[in-house]
Symmetry: C2
Amino acid sequence: MNKLFISYLICFAGINLHAQQEDSVFIRTIYNEALSKGHAYENLRSLCKDVGPRLSGSSQAQMAVEWSERLMKSYKFDSVYLQKVMVPHWERGTKESGWIKTNDGKLIPINLLALGGSIGTNGLLSGEIIEFSHIDLLKKAPKKEVEGKIVFLNQPMDEQQISTFKAYGGCYAIRGQGAVESAKLGAKAVIIRSLGMPIDDHPHTGSMQYEENVNRIPAAALSTADAQQLHELIESGKVTFLFEMDCRVYPDEPSFNVIAELKGKIHPNKLITFGGHLDSWDTGEGAHDDGAGVIHCLETLRILNVLNYQPKHTLRLVFFMNEENGNKGGKTYAEVAKQKGEIHIAAVESDRGGFSPRGFHCDGPSEFVKLIQSFEPLFKPYDLHDFDKGYGGVDIGPLKTYYTDIPLFGFVPDSQRYFDFHHAPSDVFENVNKRELELGAASICSFIYLLDKHL
Amino acid sequence: MNKLFISYLICFAGINLHAQQEDSVFIRTIYNEALSKGHAYENLRSLCKDVGPRLSGSSQAQMAVEWSERLMKSYKFDSVYLQKVMVPHWERGTKESGWIKTNDGKLIPINLLALGGSIGTNGLLSGEIIEFSHIDLLKKAPKKEVEGKIVFLNQPMDEQQISTFKAYGGCYAIRGQGAVESAKLGAKAVIIRSLGMPIDDHPHTGSMQYEENVNRIPAAALSTADAQQLHELIESGKVTFLFEMDCRVYPDEPSFNVIAELKGKIHPNKLITFGGHLDSWDTGEGAHDDGAGVIHCLETLRILNVLNYQPKHTLRLVFFMNEENGNKGGKTYAEVAKQKGEIHIAAVESDRGGFSPRGFHCDGPSEFVKLIQSFEPLFKPYDLHDFDKGYGGVDIGPLKTYYTDIPLFGFVPDSQRYFDFHHAPSDVFENVNKRELELGAASICSFIYLLDKHL
């Protein structure tokens, strides 16, 4: 890797003026294609409406694989193929209901979703509620207070964070660790306030974990509005909670990453990977998460192909499977790459929704941060301004295990509306704006072009 | 004015480090208030739902004036008062329908809205259609080809423009001048493709002009989807168009700008004006245009007041009346200011919707552009990046007539979704995102604070 890394450094003198003018013209051509003759919006419509939600292991996920392969083949890329991945298979089942029972016996139905991976309740489960406003307070609670009860983790996302992803990160543990921490203290179930920013009726699902030697208990997310309601009822008197879920885990299933390539003309053995994840949660349509991301990246390869761009390096588009609950697609991709002795020089991911572009972040050596900062003037006419050190993405993350110095780049759209829809029934095509989606695709396409040219 | 201007220049050495730290802390406090204890979203809900659309001269506009005055008074500002403005009064009436009649006699109903200020059709008006893809082609057309026909101006907004306001500017003439140019060539009516970015069923209204000594003809906007449909039918054979509208102009009515102030502690006679327009079109709820703008500015004064900020200059909030079809509020405001001998040192407007903030533009001497560029580092944590020369706003524009060197500042949110809703039935509260609205209010509040402190 070191030799490769040194060769990068040589290229890092920055982009000279002539090259900048050439780049500027080509980027304008990319944006024109995306905005006037783009396929992104209609492709996303088809993914959302013809295929729909596509949780790993489901038949819809298989349909999504076939849909993707067929579409990639229609674009006449140099190659299109599937990469086998074993994925978990969890199903929500058909029963999913919950009620608050007030002191005077009144039943109030509430909006909930089982967390992904949760066991079912094995019939109607009811119990006294104990509420915590932060997971750290649960961890400190005496066992005798929690034992036999339903833990309610009512920790809201911090609205003062400007990046909603930071607010999400601050709450993530209630979903990921809530069941384990509750079970350690003898709770019979856990319900959490949805990791959603607005107060509304949409519960937000997402992955949760169990631990060996810790009792497995059912876990569900309430809508933020119902979490507020439950909180207020608890304040005003004792309430019990009842819910039923028949979700369950099935044996792992075979599935696939879907891959397409344009071969490099100068360094065909050096790879730039870019993609998003094809799987989604089973509620909504996975429109922003991560339909937008895979469509951004498909549109990128389509545009470069249609403009007859001759890439220096091999550009590899990957629709990863199973980001949501296992990341088996990302892990398998990196393992296979290493096994085959492939040379990976960079990877780019789009998994933050189809919103108005803001920039790109770099997880990698500082030279690569400088490289993308040298791109910034070229993106100024398109309102991108955020080129900085930061996070790459879940799917491309495992590449770092085997390619230590590889730079990973994450596409950064505006984050303000993402957690209105994330993992919720409202993550549907209608909530994606055509222009914002197209501008995202054009930005990523321009970024891949610049990486290919200047790496 | 020159003396005043020189005194500004003295202050322009930039913001020193200590002041920057103080500013940084205060701005964070502003954002926290807006995001955690903000009134913006609920105030906008009330304006949209309790008052609704509020076209100048309508009883709803009068209700909006009373609603605004009452709300401002509830916030205990130093003063709240009304400023009388005479405004035009046009009403859409109750009949507004249109049909395409195909060659074989089939009638296809279409979505249209009369343009604001248009005369009615005086019963059902029908005629042969002549289509132009650009207003310049209409201007060059021979009179005999146009005479007696209905002109159809099917000029789409240029989707390749990154700023949708530029695309709007490029099409504005079909709405503003379409009736005059068509009538000059003897047309009996004009219908235009809506100035909207997406292809959908919402027609977009807006102001149009007549000219003395040019025949007044009815003018309407078709939804973009219906404009496409009409275009395709024209391509495939002769079609006629039928429509009926009973809109009409009434005598001018008295109305009001609604004004609130926090008195300056050091220079009470020097004014910083900021605001948006209270009137809206009569379709939708004027949520983005310009409910968001007035609410941004009200929230600005509320936050500064609640944080007990002691302004140097008098901060004057203005809800202008009649921006949409006459700008009588803006013109009257500037005239009265001059008559009273007021000293105006800056003005700020928000009239580009309640979307995620991007920055501020300055219409004024370059020293003021430099001043706002010195603010940029303070706004970086909040993702604002666009501080440049540009446009101020329609309402504050007339101040330049009397205060030659006054800097006018326009708030710049992301523009991508604005022309989905602008002047259309879809400009409703539900299409405004809470966080985006709050971030806009916090940005404007911080900007007013910085102007007050560093001017």
